[in-house]
């Protein structure tokens, strides 16, 4: 038998899975996730999820874009190819602003996209859950909690008991 990825528990309603998620969070698990067919309001709080860190990627990308825009225009107009246009100074943050601003948005968007992919560990070409026959129902009408074996709290018997007491009617191991 191959190595175990984790344990999967099936629930029938959003309320059930929400209550179970609270129980799993209270038990102190870290490597776990909830899968639902549609967004469930309040699930973030139930799981104890904080605001995503992707904003930091956006911010740093934006600052980089702005700075590189200003530096680029300064280098081009005031250093590399000095030419007076319209009687204006060789460099002014005023005329450099629109382009720097656009680079702010461009770099911030790229940083957001790639930061999101990085934080979500994407692209992920295969996932152990995809082998699980029952899990296909997650796009239909079932709700799942998956706790990974890498979690320190994980124990094959105790974790199963916890999920049973949380109201799951079907629990199975997921192969790696």
């Amino acid at each position: 038998m191959s190595k175990s990825y984790g344990i999967i528990a099936e629930f029938d309603t959003p309320a059930d899975v929400m209550a179970a998620a609270r129980a799993v969070r209270k038990a102190g698990f870290k490597h776990w996730d909830v899968h639902t067919p549609f967004p469930v309001h309040g699930m973030d709080e139930a799981m104890g999820l904080k605001n995503s860190n992707v904003g930091w990627f956006t911010f740093i990308g934006g600052v980089t874009g702005y700075t590189s825009g200003m530096l680029m225009i300064w280098f081009q107009n005031a250093v590399d190819y000095r030419i007076v246009v319209g009687g204006k100074p060789l460099f002014s943050p005023l005329f450099a602003f629109p382009v720097s601003y656009e680079l702010t948005i461009l770099f911030a968007s790229f940083a957001t996209i790639f930061g999101m992919l990085f934080l979500n560990r994407l692209p992920c070409l295969h996932h152990p859950l995809l082998k699980n026959q029952r899990f296909a129902q997650v796009t239909h009408d079932k709700f799942y909690i998956v706790i990974e074996t890498t979690d320190r709290q994980y124990s094959e018997t105790e974790t199963r008991k916890l999920l049973e007491s949380a109201g799951s009617k079907h629990i199975e191991q997921v192969e790696e």
């Binding site: 309040g42 605001n51 009687g87 602003f97 629109p98």
Partner: protein, 402 residues
């Protein structure tokens, strides 16, 4: 979920607390200060009064805008804060009375009033707008339009408290749909007549939007603090995290919008470098006005932008309360920056009448506001969107402010 009627606190129970005497103190002290100031320097009095008047006009028109927006977008989140916004918007008739000193001193304040248009080309081409009779007629029209619009927005809403009829919402939607156009034109005309015409040679198609952006920014800060006060004192117990979140987000949005507008105005004028436009900013680079301009860049935009960037910052009262006071200060400086350089050409100069006019107009408006507020239910009682305002995102409402 308790019903609206059960959660409503009878306003009378809170009446007569000591804090509510404060506006009287401000109004009387301001009036005395203004009287003294008027006798010592009438021109300084006039300009100080105009700055304070434009500051408070911002908040009244900004509130009117938020009410219009509420109906136009059929919002639910803003139901709990709508009633006091309607009251603030309906302070425009009071502002009409408070405009009398400006109307009286206009020939002293606006140089174009006493210039012969035949000797001034810049005035001659704008004489259709800038002539004394039009100035006074326009003031009457503007206050009339605002009074009518804010009266209708409030009376239909009050009627719904009695009847609960959806007809009121439909009527309000119609008033809002037409009203937003009237609002845009009237606010632009007010900004042009009462501020921009101080230098009648100036051109800027951004000017009305500029005043609008600053006005709504200041209004949102004011609304945020009024909401906190009214919730803490038990008048509006139905305010939740969602309302503060949305007000914070809008305040942040208008921080950026104001910067965008003001930068656009400056950038185009700087780029084109035409004397008939640049003189406006050249005057505002003299002496300490230059510093005020820099404070606007960093204090009106950059500081608030960075501080409010994080989503949790918009809900953190330890940050937001000082921020709101800062917003008021920045908008006041912005009004000074627009009006005062005509009078104090070498730099910013504070006078007693500056404080007195703020105290007088602010005090008077607050007195009337409290009268309105105590005479009616503190928030719409039978709005069709009421349950939605409370119910939607109930989980997000956990961990309330107060």
């Amino acid at each position: 979920m308790s019903s609206p009627a059960a959660t409503a606190t009878p306003a009378a129970a809170h009446e007569g607390s000591g804090w509510e005497k404060l506006p009287y103190v401000f109004a009387v002290a301001g009036f005395i200060g203004l009287t003294v100031g008027a006798f010592s320097d009438l021109k300084q009095f006039g300009y100080s009064y105009l700055v304070a008047f434009m500051f408070f006009l911002s908040i009244c028109l900004g509130s009117m805008f938020l009410v219009l927006l509420h109906h136009l977008f059929d919002s639910s989140w803003s139901v709990p804060i709508r009633r006091f916004l309607e009251h603030i918007a309906f302070l425009t008739p009071v502002l009409g009375l408070l405009f009398i000193p400006i109307a009286w001193l206009a020939p002293k304040l606006y140089p174009w009033m006493t210039i012969d248009p035949n000797l001034d080309h810049a005035l001659h081409v704008k004489v259709a707008l800038f002539n004394p009779p039009t100035f006074y007629i326009m003031a009457v029209v503007l206050f009339g339009v605002w009074a009518l619009l804010s009266y209708k927005l409030r009376s239909w809403s009050l009627k719904q408290d009695e009847t609960g009829s959806p007809e009121c919402t439909f009527a309000l939607r119609k008033w809002a749909a037409g009203g937003i156009f009237i609002f845009a034109f009237s606010l632009t005309l007010a900004a042009i007549y009462w501020m921009k015409s101080l230098q009648h040679q100036f051109f800027s198609t951004m000017y009305g939007v500029y005043y609008f952006a600053g006005s709504v920014w200041t209004t949102l800060a004011t609304v945020y603090i009024i909401a906190i006060v009214l919730q803490r004192r038990g008048y509006i117990p139905i305010l939740h995290r969602r309302q503060y979140h949305d007000m914070g987000v809008l305040l942040f949005a208008f921080t950026v919008f104001y910067a965008y507008i003001h930068f656009s105005q400056y950038f185009l004028i700087w780029n084109a470098a035409m004397p008939e436009e640049t003189f406006w900013y050249v005057l505002r680079e003299q002496g300490s006005w230059w510093a005020v301009g820099m404070i606007t860049v960093f204090g009106h935009f950059f500081g608030p932008f960075l501080l409010m960037l994080r989503i949790d910052a918009k809900l953190n009262l330890k940050l937001m309360i000082p921020m709101i006071i800062w917003v008021w200060l920045m908008h006041y400086l912005d009004m000074q920056y627009n009006i005062m350089p005509v009078f104090h050409t070498t730099g910013i100069h504070f006078a007693l009448t500056d404080l007195a006019s703020m105290a007088f107009i602010g005090g008077t408006l607050t007195i009337v506001f409290l009268k309105y507020f105590h005479a009616h239910a503190p928030y719409p009682q039978k709005d069709p969107r009421f349950e939605e305002a409370l119910g939607h995102g109930a989980a997000e409402n956990q961990g309330d402010h107060a």
